[in-house]
């Protein structure tokens, strides 16, 4: 089924003939208060194991990044309001990061076993009983989201609470978020709301507000999870212009093919060569 916004339909592309609308996250970091309820709710619901109890010293961020056992991660950035003008004071940026559930998903593309798959909701999920621990998805992800857990040698990441979605519930992190910084819903509706929110912020003088991964024409075909940020993506640890690696795969196979043909040619040349 197609959306009136002309959004790509990854679930149909994956073979789901009759499927619910594509669901996603809109994380509005302008109203994140850094409470980490999302991190805790995610861990509780998904029974994600402990991911370290040490203090990083990086503002209030002690999970430091997404990983096999950290599926929501709240980033904290302390920065001057106006660089060069200490009197203007500091501001504190907070942002709850999560798997982007890319429209063009590198982890899913490169997974050799089919353990990573596209759900009927258009999200990307790892099947634990199929993952054989090859780790190929880990460097494929342009965001550094998916990772392999030491204990079970398998890849893990956010499932967008696939089990809860199937039961008509919203994901645990969105449910727990006290400010509605994490919004869950049909992706096309979220994109409309996000566009309005940016307009409001601009009208209120918050010129640095911008959407990230909301555009289906970007390098990953748009995120199933997208963000409203108050600074450049890299300030939050996000890549500024990610492109899914598999867009270049046809070119890679072409060069591999030419190189391999050269080697076959070498066999022929040697075979036709002199006896000594």
């Amino acid at each position: 089924m197609s959306s009136d916004l002309g959004l790509p339909d990854p679930a149909a592309h994956a073979g789901w003939a009759d499927h619910p609308p594509r669901m996603g996250f809109f994380t509005d970091t302008s109203i994140c208060i850094g409470c980490k309820a999302c991190e805790v709710a995610c861990k509780e619901w998904n029974e994600v194991p402990e991911d370290g109890l040490s203090l990083s010293g990086l503002s209030y961020d002690n999970t430091v990044g997404l990983g096999a056992s950290t599926w929501r991660h709240v980033a904290f950035i302390e920065q001057p309001v106006a660089p060069g003008d200490p009197a203007a004071g500091m501001r504190w940026l907070m942002s709850s990061d999560v798997c982007k559930h890319c429209t063009e998903s590198a982890c899913l593309d490169v997974c050799p076993t089919g353990a990573l798959f596209r759900t009927e909701f258009g999200t990307v999920v790892v099947q634990d009983d199929v993952c054989n621990g090859c780790g190929y998805c880990v460097p494929a992800c342009p965001f550094g989201v998916i990772a392999r857990r030491e204990e079970d040698h398998q890849a893990h990441k956010c499932t967008l609470c696939y089990d809860r979605l199937g039961a008509g519930l919203e994901p645990a992190c969105a449910k727990a978020c006290p400010t509605k910084s994490i919004q869950f819903g049909p992706l096309d509706e979220l994109r409309q709301q996000a566009a309005l929110r940016v307009e409001d912020l601009h009208a209120a003088g918050q010129d640095s507000a911008r959407l990230y991964l909301d555009d289906p024409s970007d390098g990953i075909g748009g995120g199933g999870a997208f963000f409203l940020l108050l600074d450049e993506p890299e300030v939050y640890g996000l890549p500024p212009d990610p492109v899914v690696t598999t867009r270049d795969l046809p070119g890679m196979w072409k060069h591999v093919g030419i190189a391999a043909a050269g080697l076959v040619g070498a066999a022929v040349a040697l075979g036709l060569g002199k006896r000594r």
């Binding site: 980033a75 590198a106 593309d109 490169v110 997974c111 050799p112 076993t113 089919g114 199929v130 993952c131 054989n132 621990g133 090859c134 780790g135 190929y136 880990v138 460097p139 494929a140 992800c141 342009p142 965001f143 550094g144 989201v145 998916i146 392999r148 040698h153 398998q154 450049e232 890299e234 300030v235 640890g237 996000l238 890549p239 500024p240 212009d241 990610p242 690696t245 598999t246 270049d248 890679m252 196979w253 060069h255 591999v256 030419i258 190189a259 391999a260 043909a261 050269g262 080697l263 076959v264 070498a266 066999a267 040349a269 040697l270 075979g271 036709l272 060569g273 002199k274 006896r275 000594r276």
Partner: protein, 303 residues
């Protein structure tokens, strides 16, 4: 005047992408051994067709030995060896690892049949067919690994995808030719010598082209661009050593036509060069994944 690198910000200097979880011995070994095996099959077929029986025999046995060891390295790296067969539950052209698993499943038995027939003398016609089959699949085994590493978000691998297959094909040919030079006396090693010379030369050219393209990364020209990880630190030292050994091996292969010792030393040099090249390329990619500048600045430059 050199334009300085573009300034960039990051989240506490932390990497944007995750560095590969592949083991630093298993995977470079897999790349090297797969190359050695695939190009040895090329050498085996060429030698057999041109009547170099002893060299063909050596090449067939080394192809089987190398591909067997590479399979061990691959399975060891999985961490869950019992689940290797999950690799063969689907075929996905979008995954170089899936394609490679199927290639390995096809090539391994064929290369094995060629070697067993050669050594035992059983079913010579089938052995010849297997030798020719291995010479078709072997080149794919030797080169697909370039797509394997380049089809990632690792900046210094991904952006090198246009040159990496030729670098790997050259490195593999140098290794296979080198093994032939080491094992067979010079008078009977003509095809090994020619493959070694062609492979080492192709590798040296491909490496230059790779470095030239990656050096020109917008925003990072001053520090060497995405080529910097190939030229700096441990990867840089390893790759410099590999280049010296390649040149030495090339010279020895050309000059050692009648001298067994020179020929054999050239063979050892080329084998070591190939192994070091794979290790250096692997380490360079890891270094480019660890430093956020290699991810962030080139993406900024695209805007």
């Amino acid at each position: 005047m050199m334009v300085p690198d573009v300034e960039f910000t990051s989240y506490y200097g932390r990497p944007v992408i995750k560095e590969p979880v592949w083991e630093p011995v298993d995977v470079p070994s897999y790349l090297f051994l797969g190359g050695l095996a695939g190009a040895s099959s090329v050498l085996a077929a060429g030698s057999q067709l041109s009547g170099h029986r002893e060299l063909a025999r050596v090449a067939k046995v080394s192809a089987l030995g190398a591909i067997s060891l590479s399979a061990v390295a691959l399975i060891h790296d999985l961490g869950r060896p019992g689940r290797f067969f999950n690799m063969l539950r689907v075929f996905k052209p979008s995954s170089p690892m899936s394609v490679g698993s199927w290639l390995l499943a096809g090539y391994g038995p064929v290369a094995g049949a060629a070697a067993v027939s050669e050594v035992t003398g059983i079913l010579p016609p089938a052995g010849t067919a297997a030798t020719l089959g291995a010479a078709v699949l072997g080149p794919a085994i030797a080169t697909y690994t370039a797509a394997l590493i380049c089809d990632t978000a690792v900046p210094s691998w991904h952006e090198g995808y246009r040159e990496m297959p030729y670098l790997f094909a050259g490195s593999a040919s140098g290794a296979a030719g080198g093994l032939g030079l080491l094992a067979v006396r010079p008078a009977d090693a003509g095809p090994a010598r020619r493959l070694a010379v062609a492979g080492a030369s192709a590798e040296l050219v491909a490496r230059r082209l790779l470095i030239r393209r990656l050096s020109a990364t917008p925003g990072l020209e001053a520090s060497g661009g995405l080529a910097e990880p190939y030229e700096k630190g441990r990867a840089g030292a390893v790759l410099r050593a590999a280049e010296i050994l390649t040149v030495a091996g090339l010279a020895g292969a050309v000059l050692g036509r009648r001298r067994r010792v020179v020929s054999a030393l050239a063979g050892v040099s080329l084998l070591a060069a190939s192994a070091l090249t794979r290790y250096g390329v692997f380490e360079a990619g890891m270094a480019s994944a660890r430093d956020p500048k290699y991810t962030i600045v080139p993406q900024r430059g695209r805007n």
